[in-house]
């Protein structure tokens, strides 16, 4: 068994704007089961960060516990990382985001980590609009403990254990919409053409961005009767639109007939270009997104793509008026501005 990926890459491999190869964004060789959807999501994160030309050392990846939460070892080896406590990734991420707003935060969690033990944490991190991308690697089972049903397993879905799921499932995208998230997307590990632009858009989004990624568990939940298998998702997958992410520096050259596309300008000047919009769906209308999800779920379909976006809302930093500088770079003058300023502030309350 190979424990190391060969160090050679394609001799024609490109470098990005800041001089890095995609190899510089890779991690260790995965120890997940062969064929795990999570590995594809890792590959998509690697490619998205490479293409966005983010310096690897300016990224922090934070995870909880589970197969999903192991993946940060398998991407971005040159970035900061914190493999935290089960279901507590949002708390650790909150601390990190508060301490340094300059980094790009990628939170990785699973359906167990987010929809069961971490449900409360998940709800509050959405509410607070913490500046991060929250990627759920959603396989509908607890793969690390031999495949028990998770809280996102659909009623009636039958995994390898052979017993249909009895309890109704939690739709994390729907829940995030209810809780006020401004960037909600769903994707599929087997469709990188869709997933990579969504990750890039999520990274660019100012505030909390949820990407719920269906990621089949090839060992315990890839049966013909499971609704989270490769074949079920492929056969029942539809999308709200095709999203293309255009970084701020590039010129928009695509020509799309008016009415069929929508351009959404992001906080940092980049653009999400949506084409082939589904009928009746409006990316800026929360209700239409909630309806779309419910309708798809009723029909047993898997609605993917960007579900809802509002790029104008303030993130936690604007809401709390946090300091612009990382806490570790604040000096004594900034932390102890002196008696005069204290007097002035006190005077305001007199």
């Amino acid at each position: 068994m190979s424990y190391k990926r060969p160090s050679f890459r394609h001799p024609g491999a490109a470098i990005n704007e800041i001089g890095f190869h995609q190899k510089d964004y890779e991690g260790a060789l995965s120890t997940l089961c062969a064929g795990c959807g999570h590995d594809s999501i890792s590959a998509a994160i690697i490619q998205a960060c490479f293409e966005l030309a983010i310096p690897p050392h300016r990224i922090a990846k934070i995870s909880g516990i589970g197969c999903s939460s192991k993946t940060p070892t398998y991407f971005l080896a040159n970035s900061h990382g914190f493999n935290s406590v089960h279901g507590r990734m949002p708390s650790v991420a909150t601390g990190a985001v508060m301490a340094n707003r300059d980094l790009t935060y990628i939170g990785v969690s699973g359906d167990g980590d987010s929809a069961s033990i971490g449900m409360g944490q998940f709800a509050h991190v959405v509410r607070r609009n913490l500046n991060m991308v929250y990627i759920v690697m959603n396989n509908g089972c607890y793969g690390l403990t031999k495949g028990q049903d998770s809280a996102t397993a659909d009623v009636g879905s039958v995994g390898k254990a052979g017993v249909p799921t009895m309890f109704s499932s939690i739709d994390l995208a729907g829940l995030a919409l209810e809780l006020g998230a401004d960037f909600v997307a769903r994707s599929f590990s087997g469709d990188k053409d869709q997933l990579i632009p969504l990750i890039k858009a999520g990274i660019s989004h100012n505030g909390f961005a949820l990407i719920d990624v269906l990621s089949p568990c090839v060992t315990f939940n890839n049966t013909k009767t499971s609704t989270k298998s490769y074949s079920y998702v492929r056969d029942h997958m539809g999308s709200t639109s095709i999203a293309d992410f255009v970084p701020e520096k590039s010129e928009i050259t695509a020509t799309v007939a008016p009415g069929e596309s929508k351009m959404i300008e992001m906080h940092d000047g980049s653009i999400i270009e949506l084409t082939s919009l589904a009928e009746g769906w409006d990316p800026g209308n929360r209700l239409s997104a909630i309806n779309a999800i419910h309708n798809a779920n009723l029909k047993g379909e898997v609605l993917t793509g960007l579900l809802y976006i509002d790029a104008k809302q303030p993130s936690v930093h604007q809401l709390l008026n946090t300091t612009l500088k990382p806490l570790n770079s604040l000096n004594q003058d900034e932390l102890m501005p002196g008696v005069e300023l204290l007097e002035r502030i006190n005077a305001e309350f007199r």
């Binding site: 190979s2 001799p11 087997g190 492929r234 997958m237 769906w281």
Partner: protein
Amino acid sequence: MDFSLFFPPDYSCHDSTFVKLKPTDLKDPEYFHKVVDCQYACPAHTPVPEYIRMIALERYDDAYMINWESNVFPGVLGRTCDRPCEPACRRGRIEEKPVAICRLKRVAADLKGDITSRIPRGPFPSNGKKIALIGGGPASLTVARDLAPLGYEIHLFDEQKSGGGFMRSQIPAFRLPEEVLNEEVNYILDMGVHKHFNTYVSSLKEILKQDYDAVFIGTGAPRGKDLPKLDGRWDAKDHVHIGIDWLASVAFEHREKIGKKVIVVGGGNTAMDCCRTARRLGGTDVKVVVRSPFEDMKASAWEIEDAQREDIPILSCHNPKAFVTENGVLKGMMFSRVEAVYDDQGKRKLVPLDEPDVFIEADDVLMAIGQDNAFPWIEKDLGIAFGEWDMPVVNKTTFQSTLPKVFFGGDAAFGPENVITAVAHGHQAAVSIELFCQQMDVHDRPNPLTNLFSQKMGIHEWSYDNAIVDDHRYNVPHANKELSLQNRKLEVELGFDMPTGFKEAQRCLNCDVQTVFQESRCIECDACVDICPTSCITFTTNGDEEDLRHRLTMPALNTTQDLYVSDVLPTMRVMVKDEDVCLHCGLCAERCPTSAWDMQKFLYNVSKASHVCPSAVV
């Protein structure tokens, strides 16, 4: 609200009028053969990765025998081969330098034990056929080796006192020690070949009058080119030599000295052998003078390096103008300066420069400017047709001449090439002679012997060493320069020792262990795409080749390398693998949950004479 589900283009059927690539036909033995670049490039198609693995396993005898069966002279070729395999080596496209295939062959020859028990030994039961081989070089010896065990009575004619042909007369002993050559020539002669050495065949008609069932002509390209019309050529003719004749006279010890100042005219490997030999026979000021620019020289890069290491300057773009003599004594040569000009088609023209001529002093001049074939001993009325440049008309597959019982091979067939090509010719000519003597159609060639079998040992275990090492090519150590310049028989290259041989062998990518894809098992999870270090694998909609090559994860721009295309998958896509820079690391198969990918070793053996009537082989 109605939500029409949209399926992105990757999942849709393309227009049926669109040209699509057909699934790769794995039943065609040439598909996987082509992936093994080194073996494919080798004229004799030696199974290179297979013997390199044997070296890594310290199974030197096996490594040697794989070579011996395929190229007959592993010890000779491990020192002197032109190495068409190395520029083809996939490793050279991944990093700077290819695997030192040639020098590993020598490792097998140097470190093997006594393998005589594995060499076929006569007497063989006679098949009642008798053949004559004219010329004792690699082509004839290969024919002898392939046919002697089949019961042929073989008569080998050579004008020299021992066998080996140009391997003996042209390759200096400091590159190829006589013992190495003798060992491998004798393996063949000891099979019961009737030796007629010191016998110059002056008439093919006389040979044909005798009762030979077939005659093979492997007389090489024995005539060195001259500059007969150059001013002064014949004024001091004792000090102006034809390179190959001079090398032969040194090899057979008719000549032991040369003047201090020597000019070698020419830029091929013979020129390199001439100048280095001259350094060992007393030449202290030896220069190579060549018409072409340095980078266009025909000599192998490593032979040029070896000459330069022995303080031999190479003067390029000098065109010979005259031999300069005084009172019948050679003084030197006059050269005019030229410049290479290339036209739109890249064709070279040497244009004289407006510069004064250059005089170079010399006591002796060696001319190594090419070789010609010469068949003064073949009568024109025998039914053997001669075509352009007085070359015999020879079939490129069967090596048969227009006189059915006469076959050609080696340099005698199509002009000067090299030892390994001569061996390849010999094998094919032997097949033809066997077919001919068994009254079968010489054009009905036996198929190559191929085998494809899984290397799977466990869930993620392979029976080959699939880890890829980062090591750069190892250099071969050389003998002390001062000592080797004093002794023309002291071998310069010392070969790899056991540990270095192992490390160099580990650089081989095992390109014969093929990535075999079975579409019916694939669940399209993308694991192979994600893990492939060199981004060789893409799942996409089919198209014509040009279109597909540009749509892959990494564009497949090396069109000499094939695309491996699967049949259509459930999502209407196909798997496309660009063979170009595949490391054969097996990770696609390790990360495949359904074993749709498997690593399977492909063996390809060129058909030999013994395969014509397998039941007749003892």
